[in-house]
Structure formats: structure tokens, C-alpha cells
């Protein structure tokens, strides 16, 4: 049995961005030595997310546009106040809510050393409050090759 945890650094360059990390997750799986098992991908940040959808720019844009429609920046949020533990104000409630709505993790089976996923499924790191350098946890679990 192998249990391996990798921390991927993902750097966003925009306020909001869908970043395809499928290849990087596949690389972690291939290097892990796991033949059959699971891979779990999780963002470490509550103003970002993890999504699986078809990997085409129009959908990336639709997701960001309609999340913004559901959670507009200027809505009335209780989070817009001074957070003494952070030494600053919290005014990114919409980013947190998008993270809650879209989710923060995904899981895929591994078979014969490769991720098993639909041909159109793409793993996205979702930046909702960038640009920032972020961390994704990728944990691979399964029987050894």
C-alpha cells in the first residue's frame, strides 16, 4: 500500500481564473508508483476551488461569469468587517461563497497506474481572489505497481 501526498504550487495571474492542472495531477499519479487506487485533489485555500468539467474556454468563462452573477462583489456580506486575527478587513466574501458553491476537491480512480476519467473531464484549480500563489494537495492512495 502506498499513501503519498504532494503539494502543488499553482500561481494565478488574474483576479479570477480557471487553471487546468490535469497534467500535473496525472504526473503525480504516475510518479507515485500506485497501480490501482485513488487520487484526491484538494485546494488549501477557502477563496479558491477545485472543479471538474469539460476543458474548453467557453465553459471556463461561463463558470466565472455566472458565479459572479450569483455572488456579486458588492452584495451585502457580513464578512465585510475587520478581522483582528488577520490584521485586515475581510471583503472577499464572494470568493469564499464561490468556493463553497463550486467545491474544493475532486477524486478519481487509478487503474494500471493512470487516472480513470471521462475523455472530456478536466481538473481545474479555480482562483476566485487572485493573483496569488496557491497550494493544492494531491494525495495518491493504492496498491503498489
Amino acid at each position: 500500500m502506498i499513501i503519498k501526498l504532494e503539494r502543488l504550487k499553482v500561481r494565478s495571474s488574474k483576479s479570477e481564473e480557471a487553471i487546468d492542472i490535469t497534467g500535473r495531477v496525472e504526473e503525480v499519479v504516475q510518479k507515485s508508483g500506485v497501480r490501482n487506487g485513488f487520487v484526491n485533489v484538494l485546494t488549501a485555500h477557502t477563496s479558491s476551488g477545485l472543479l471538474v468539467t469539460e476543458g474548453i474556454p467557453c465553459l471556463e468563462e461561463d463558470i466565472l461569469t455566472h458565479f459572479a452573477r450569483v455572488f456579486p462583489e458588492d452584495a451585502d456580506y457580513h464578512h465585510h468587517r475587520y478581522l483582528d486575527y488577520d490584521g485586515r478587513l475581510g471583503f472577499n466574501a464572494e470568493a469564499h461563497l464561490k468556493s463553497v458553491l463550486g467545491g474544493i476537491q475532486c477524486i478519481f480512480p487509478i487503474e494500471n497506474g493512470s487516472i480513470v476519467k471521462g475523455s472530456r473531464q478536466t481538473i481545474y484549480f479555480m482562483e476566485y481572489d487572485g493573483p496569488l500563489e496557491r497550494t493544492c494537495f494531491v494525495q495518491v492512495l493504492g496498491e503498489e505497481r
Binding site: 462583489e73 465585510h80 486575527y85 488577520d86 490584521g87 478587513l89 493573483p131 500563489e133
Partner: protein, 283 residues
């Protein structure tokens, strides 16, 4: 566009290099956000449309144990990117403060002075502070001075009152004072000084509750009329974000949400800062 008020306190490269830097950020500056590569600072500027940022250290080592970034660290960052404009900070109550400022200007190439009477625990009308004001005036360095409320625990409100600076403002007409944070909550006193004294400027880095947009709508549309900025203070305001206490993009957006003309915004976001920094169009 120029951001006249940023603090380089969450730079990953400095955290890796200087043993006390992390403790400074957490215990002295008291910010809980993650350290980020320097490139992220530049990306934050990019998404906000900011070309250059003024980096402000605070020499509060005498009272807080550590300075909030050193002059040398600021100079180091300026050497890494031409988009940074470094200011110096000295402790007015320390022997040789004026000489230290001169060294920072001449040896490190720093362009202005930053003081925070509350965090540095000195009265802004103290005679020793006047020696520093005099040195800054002689060096033609603008002074960004904290006014208004300070969140920092253990600090008093009184040193942040803008009228505490009136004597200095009158005594050093050749020194340009930039009152940080719009001196909130003493907004009208700050406005009166900026209207009355040619050498008093105000920066927009005020945010004490609600979102940046909500706070700006309150201060710059209800607490004082927006027309006051548009008509009478357009030449006396500089944009400042106070990054990383707030992301630059949010403060730019808040400023743009006010009913200001493009001409007025251009002065606040660029022209007035260039004038204070002595930047001419051919640079």
C-alpha cells in the same frame, strides 16, 4: 498609475533570507496572510492597473523590537524591479536619525520618508521629530506620515490626529506632507489642512470597516461631498492602497466607484504622485 502606500511585509524571498522577517510580519505588523513570491506583488499591481508602487518601511524597532521592513530591504526590492519606489524610515527619537535619513537617500537611493507616530511611539510635534522633518525638507523627500486611527495594539489614537502636525506643516513649508489614511476619522480636520496649506496632501488608503467600495462611498460621498475632491482637492490627493492589508485592485475599484471625472482620477492616480516624487514626463 502609482500606488503611494504599500508595505513590503509578505515577500517570500525576504522571509527566506531574513530570520526575523516572518516574526515582524506576524507580531509587529500583525498580518496573517500567506507570504507570496515577489512576482505576485507585481501581478497584484498588474490586475489593478498600477505601474509603480511606493514601498514604505516603518522603523519601530525601539518600541516594537523589530522594524516593519528595513531601509536596506526596501532598497533591495527596488533593485529587483524598476516598478518600485522606495521610501526610508527612521526613528526620530533615536540619536542620529537625521543623518540616517541622509544616508538612506544618498547611499540607498530612497526617495521619501515614512513615519508612523503611533507605531513608532513619538509625538509628531516632538522637537526631535522636527530635526527629521528638517532633514527630509533639505533632501527634498516627501513625507508619508500615518494619520488617523491605527489598528496596531498598544498604540494611542492621539498621535494620529492631523492637527498634531500643524506646527510642523507651518514650520517646514518646503516639506510635502502626505497624511496617510485620509486621517480617518478626523477627515474634516485633514481636509481643512489640505485646503489651507500648500504642502499638505492626503492619501486615499482609508478602510476601517465594510468593503472598500462601501467605505469610500461613505467617506467620500456622505462624510464629505465628492465635489470637494473633484473641485477643491483634486491636486492634493494621491492614491494609496495600504497593500497588503487590502488588495490594490479593490481600492482602485472603490476609487473609481466615486463620481469623479477622468481628469480628477488621473491626478489622484498619477499626476499628483509624480509631482510629489519629482518625476518628469521624460522619465
Amino acid at each position: 498609475m502609482i500606488d503611494f502606500h504599500t508595505h513590503p511585509v509578505l515577500i517570500q524571498e525576504l522571509a527566506d533570507k531574513y530570520p526575523d522577517y516572518r516574526r515582524m510580519a506576524r507580531e509587529v505588523f500583525q498580518i496573517g496572510n500567506n507570504f507570496q513570491p515577489l512576482e505576485v506583488f507585481l501581478l497584484q499591481m498588474d490586475v489593478a492597473g498600477i505601474e509603480c508602487a511606493v514601498l514604505l518601511p516603518i522603523d519601530c524597532a525601539r518600541v516594537r523590537g523589530l522594524a516593519v521592513s528595513s531601509n536596506e530591504q526596501v532598497a533591495e526590492l527596488c533593485a529587483r524591479s524598476p516598478r518600485f519606489i522606495g521610501f526610508a524610515s527612521v526613528d526620530p527619537l533615536k540619536e542620529g536619525a537625521a543623518q540616517e535619513l541622509e544616508r538612506a537617500a544618498k547611499s540607498l537611493g530612497l526617495k521619501g520618508l515614512k513615519l508612523d507616530p503611533a507605531l513608532q511611539d513619538f509625538p509628531p510635534d516632538h522637537p526631535k521629530a522636527f530635526s527629521v522633518y528638517e532633514a527630509a525638507a533639505a533632501l527634498k523627500m516627501p513625507l508619508v506620515i500615518h494619520t488617523g486611527m491605527s489598528w496596531a495594539p498598544g498604540t494611542a489614537l492621539e498621535p494620529g490626529h492631523p492637527l498634531k502636525l500643524e506646527k510642523a506643516v507651518r514650520q517646514f513649508p518646503g516639506l510635502n506632507f502626505v497624511f496617510a489614511h485620509f486621517a480617518w476619522p478626523w477627515v474634516w480636520e485633514a481636509v481643512a489642512m489640505a485646503l489651507k496649506y500648500p504642502n499638505v496632501y492626503l492619501d486615499t488608503s482609508c478602510l476601517y470597516y465594510d468593503s472598500p467600495r462601501e467605505f469610500f462611498q461613505f467617506v467620500f460621498a456622505r462624510q464629505i461631498p465628492t465635489t470637494l475632491l473633484e473641485r477643491s482637492l483634486r491636486g492634493k490627493l494621491v492614491f494609496g492602497s495600504n497593500y497588503p492589508r487590502v488588495e490594490i485592485k479593490n481600492m482602485v475599484r472603490a476609487l473609481r466607484s466615486l463620481s469623479l471625472t477622468e481628469g480628477c482620477l488621473k491626478k489622484i492616480l498619477l499626476g499628483n504622485a509624480k509631482m510629489l516624487l519629482g518625476i518628469t514626463d521624460d522619465h
